[in-house]
C-alpha cells in the first residue's frame, strides 16, 4: 500500500494545479464567452520562456518570466486574434474562435518541434534542484510545496484584483451584464484583454512548474487544457472563479487515491466518467422540462371561485 497521507498531499498539489487551470478558464470563458482552448499555448509558452530565462536568471525569476509570457501571449491572442475574428464575423464568432484556438494549439506545437528540432524540442528549466522534505513524518517534495504556494498566491492575487480595484469592478460588471456595463462606459474589449492577461499569466506560471518537475516539451499544453475545461465546466462558468478549488482538489486527490485500486487508464475513465455524469445531471436539472415539472402546481381539490363570481 502506498503512503496514504503522502498520496493525499501529492493529490492536493496536483489538484490545486487543476483548480488554477479551471479558475483561469472560468474567468476567461465566463467573462468573454470565448472558448480559449489555446490556453495550452499559454501554458507552453510560459514553460519555454522560463527555459530561456533560466539560462541567465535564477529559477524564481524564470517562474516570473513564465507568468509574464503567459499573460502577454494571452493578451496578444485576445487582442490580435480572437477580437478580430469576432469583429469580422460576429454571428459565427463562437465557433470560429473555437476553431482558431484549436489551430493555434497545433501551430504552436508544430512550430516548437520545427524550431527546436534537436532532442524533439525537449528543454529544461535550469537552476532548480528538487529534494524531499519531511514535515511531521510526512514526506513531500520541495517543488510540490512551491507549486502549492504559487497556486494559492495566484488565486489570491486575482481575487484581490477583482474585489479591490476599479479594473476588477469593470470585470465584474462585464461578467454580470455585458450590455449594461457597456452602457455605463465600460469597454468590454479592454476587459476581455484584462481577463485574458490574468488567466493566461496564472497558467503560464503553472507551465513553468510542470517544466521544473520534468522538462518543457512541445506537447505539454494539451492535457492541462483538457483538465482545465473539465474543471471549469463542472464548477460552472458563471460561478466565482475560486469555486474551482473544490472540483480541482477533488479530482487531484481522487486520482491519486484511485491509483491504489485500479490502473491509470481505469482511473481516468472513472474520474472523467463521474464528472461527465455530473454535467449531464446538471444539464437535466436545469432543463425546461425538469423545471416545469418540479414547479408545476398540484391540481386544486376544489374548483377555484372566479374573481367575478356571482357570489
Amino acid at each position: 500500500m502506498r503512503d496514504t497521507v503522502g498520496a493525499l498531499i501529492e493529490g492536493s498539489a496536483a489538484g490545486l494545479g487543476y483548480a488554477l487551470l479551471g479558475a483561469s478558464l472560468i474567468l476567461i470563458v465566463g467573462t468573454t464567452g470565448r472558448f480559449h482552448f489555446a490556453i495550452g499555448v499559454n501554458y507552453l509558452l510560459g514553460a519555454y520562456a522560463a527555459v530561456a530565462a533560466s539560462l541567465v536568471l535564477p529559477w524564481p525569476m524564470a517562474v516570473a518570466t513564465g507568468v509574464v509570457a503567459g499573460g502577454v501571449s494571452g493578451a496578444l491572442i485576445e487582442a490580435g486574434l480572437y477580437d478580430r475574428v469576432e469583429r469580422s464575423a460576429p454571428a459565427s464568432a463562437l465557433l470560429n474562435i473555437f476553431v482558431v484556438a484549436f489551430a493555434l494549439m497545433s501551430i504552436a506545437e508544430g512550430a516548437l518541434r520545427l524550431l527546436l528540432s534537436s532532442g524533439g524540442g525537449v528543454r529544461k528549466v535550469s537552476g532548480f534542484s528538487d529534494q524531499q522534505i519531511s514535515l511531521l513524518g510526512v514526506t513531500m517534495t520541495k517543488l510540490n510545496l512551491w507549486q502549492v504556494a504559487y497556486v494559492l498566491l495566484a488565486l489570491l492575487a486575482i481575487q484581490l484584483l477583482l474585489v479591490t480595484t476599479s479594473a476588477g469592478l469593470r470585470v465584474r460588471g462585464v461578467r454580470s451584464n455585458r450590455e449594461l456595463a457597456a452602457v455605463h462606459g465600460v469597454n468590454p474589449r479592454h476587459v476581455n484583454v484584462l481577463v485574458f492577461t490574468l488567466g493566461c499569466a496564472a497558467v503560464g506560471g503553472l507551465g513553468v512548474f510542470a517544466a521544473l518537475r520534468t522538462s518543457a516539451t512541445p506537447d505539454m499544453g494539451l492535457t492541462p487544457a483538457f483538465y482545465g475545461f473539465v474543471i471549469a465546466f463542472v464548477t460552472g462558468l458563471g460561478r466565482p472563479f475560486f469555486h474551482a478549488l473544490v472540483p480541482g482538489l477533488a479530482v487531484g486527490v481522487t486520482e491519486r487515491m484511485l491509483l491504489n485500486l485500479m490502473s491509470p487508464a481505469q482511473t481516468q475513465v472513472a474520474i472523467f466518467g463521474v464528472l461527465f455524469l455530473l454535467l449531464v445531471l446538471r444539464a437535466a436539472l436545469a432543463s425546461r422540462w425538469f423545471v416545469a415539472h418540479a414547479t408545476r402546481r398540484r391540481p386544486a381539490s376544489r374548483p377555484a371561485v372566479g374573481v367575478g363570481g356571482t357570489g
Partner: protein
C-alpha cells in the same frame, strides 16, 4: 465606416506589429534551441557495398521499385524519424551506386502511433501496388497489420519489432528483439553476476490497456522464475509527466531494481529525475527504450543517470565489430556528420534485407514487384547480413523465426553511460545466449 476599416487587408502598421511578434517569438525560441542539422545523401557512385553483399547480375541494376516507408514524421516520436530516414536514404544511395536496384522510397507519416494514420498509409501504399514496406511503432500499434496482409506487402518493423502483440502475422516481421521479453534472460544473468544485491525487481510501463496487464503478468512470472522477488509492477498513463505515485509504490514495495519498458525517452528521463529526489542511490534501473543521450541529459541530468542502464539491440558510432558495420558507420558519419543510432542502423540494413529478397526473386526469374514473391524469397532462408555483430571480415547476421516472425539471432546488451560515453556492461543474444560480462 467601421465595417470598411475592419474588412480591409493587412496594412503597414499591422504588418509591422505581426513581424515584430514573429521576430520576438523566434528570438525566444532561438534562445531555447541549439540548432538542428539538415541532412541529405546522394547516390554513392563509389559504393563498396559489393564487398559485403552479393551484388551480381540479379541485383536489379537499372530497375526501380517502390518501397513504402512509414515513419513517425510528426508527433512525439518525430525526433526518431530523421534517424530512420537517414538509414533508408543511405542504403538506397549505396545500392544504386553499387549497381543494384534503385528503391523509390514512398514516405508516409504514422503520426507517432496514430492507428488511423497507419491504416491510411498502408491503404495508400497498397493501392499503388507497393510490394515492400518498412514501418515503425510495431506496424503503428497493430493497425497496419491487416492491411499489410491484404495488400501483400512484405513488411519489416525495425523500430519496434513484432512486440508481444504482432507476432506470427502474415507478411509482417519484426527486425529487432521483442521488448521486453527478449531482454529478461540476459538481464537476470547480469543481475546475478554483477549486481548480487538485487533481490527484488519492480517494473514500470505505460498503461496501454489489456496488453499491459499481460506484459506485467509475464514480467512477474519471468522475475520469479529466475529466482527474484517481484516487487511493484506499476503502469502510468502515456500522457502522464508526474511519476510521484508510481515512485511511491515502487519505494514501498522494497524494490532494488526497476525494469522500465515501453515508456518513451522523455518519460523515462522524467521518471529518473523524480526518482533522484528520493535520494536513493542503490536502485538499479534497466530500460528497454532507445537511449537518446541528449534528452536524458536535458531532462534528468547526470546525477539521475548514475544507476541507469538500457538494454536492447544497441548500435552507435563505436559498437561495430565487423568490417561491414564499420563501413556503414563511416559512410553514415560522412553523409550526415553524426554517429548512426540503432534506428538508423536498423532501417539501413532492413532496406538491404528487402533488396536481397528482390535479388533472390530475380535469380529465380520471378517478379519482384509482387509482395508474395518477395515473402517467399524471404522465408526461403530468413538469414541476412547485418551491421550488428560479426568480427572483422566476417559479417554479422540477422535471422528471423518463421514461427514468431521476430528475430532469432540479434546481438543485444546492457549499456550505461560513463564519462559521456556509452559502454557495454554485458552482451548477449536473444534468450540470453552467448552471455558475456563487459566493462
Amino acid at each position: 465606416m467601421a465595417i470598411n476599416r475592419h474588412s480591409r487587408g493587412l496594412d503597414r502598421r499591422h504588418f509591422l506589429q505581426l513581424s515584430g511578434l514573429v521576430v520576438g517569438g523566434s528570438a525566444v525560441l532561438a534562445a531555447c534551441g541549439d540548432g538542428g542539422s539538415g541532412s541529405a545523401v546522394t547516390a554513392d557512385t563509389s559504393s563498396k557495398l559489393g564487398e559485403f553483399l552479393r551484388i551480381d547480375q540479379y541485383a536489379g541494376k537499372g530497375t526501380q521499385l517502390d518501397l513504402g516507408v512509414v515513419l513517425p514524421s510528426s508527433g512525439s516520436g518525430s525526433a526518431y524519424a530523421s534517424e530512420m530516414k537517414n538509414g533508408v536514404e543511405l542504403a538506397v544511395a549505396q545500392l544504386t551506386g553499387a549497381g543494384a536496384l534503385e528503391w523509390r522510397p514512398q514516405y508516409k507519416d504514422n503520426k507517432s502511433g496514430d492507428p488511423q494514420a497507419g491504416i491510411d498509409a498502408t491503404k495508400d501504399l497498397g493501392l499503388t501496388g507497393t510490394p515492400a514496406m518498412l514501418c515503425s511503432y510495431i506496424a503503428d500499434l497493430g493497425a497496419q497489420v491487416p492491411g499489410i496482409a491484404q495488400y501483400q506487402m512484405l513488411t519489416l518493423d525495425g523500430a519496434g519489432g513484432t512486440g508481444t502483440f504482432a507476432q506470427s502475422k502474415p507478411y509482417f516481421y519484426g527486425a529487432r528483439i521483442i521488448i521486453p521479453d527478449d531482454i529478461y534472460p540476459g538481464t537476470f544473468q547480469w543481475f546475478k553476476q554483477a549486481q548480487p544485491q538485487v533481490k527484488s525487481i519492480a517494473h514500470l510501463t505505460w498503461d496501454l490497456g489489456p496488453s499491459t496487464t499481460q506484459l506485467l503478468d509475464s514480467s512477474r512470472e519471468a522475475i520469479t522464475s529466475a529466482g527474484f522477488s517481484a516487487a511493484a509492477h506499476v503502469s502510468s498513463a502515456p500522457t502522464n509527466s508526474d511519476y510521484s505515485a508510481q515512485i511511491r509504490e515502487i519505494e514501498s514495495s522494497g524494490a532494488n531494481a526497476v525494469i522500465i519498458s515501453v515508456l518513451d525517452d522523455v518519460s523515462i528521463a522524467a521518471f529518473l529525475k523524480q526518482y533522484a529526489v528520493t535520494g536513493r542511490k542503490d536502485v538499479v534501473f534497466v530500460s528497454t527504450t532507445n537511449f537518446t543521450p541528449k534528452t536524458y541529459q536535458t531532462v534528468a541530468g547526470s546525477d539521475a543517470l548514475t544507476n541507469y542502464h538500457f538494454c536492447y539491440d544497441y548500435f552507435d558510432g563505436t559498437t561495430a565489430t565487423s568490417d561491414f558495420g564499420s563501413y556503414f558507420t563511416q559512410a553514415y558519419q560522412d553523409a550526415y556528420k553524426t554517429d548512426p543510432t540503432s534506428l538508423s542502423a536498423n532501417f539501413y540494413e532492413d532496406t538491404l534485407v528487402l533488396w536481397e529478397c528482390v535479388r533472390r526473386v530475380n535469380e529465380k526469374g520471378g517478379d519482384p514487384s509482387k509482395g508474395s514473391e518477395l515473402l517467399a524469397a524471404f522465408e526461403a532462408n530468413p538469414v541476412f547480413p547485418s551491421v550488428y555483430g560479426g568480427s572483422g571480415a566476417e559479417t554479422g547476421v540477422i535471422s528471423f523465426d518463421k514461427s514468431t516472425h521476430s528475430v532469432s539471432k540479434r546481438p543485444s546488451g546492457i549499456y550505461t553511460q560513463k564519462d559521456g560515453k556509452v559502454v557495454a556492461v554485458a552482451t548477449f543474444d536473444v534468450s540470453g545466449s552467448d552471455f558475456r560480462l563487459d566493462g
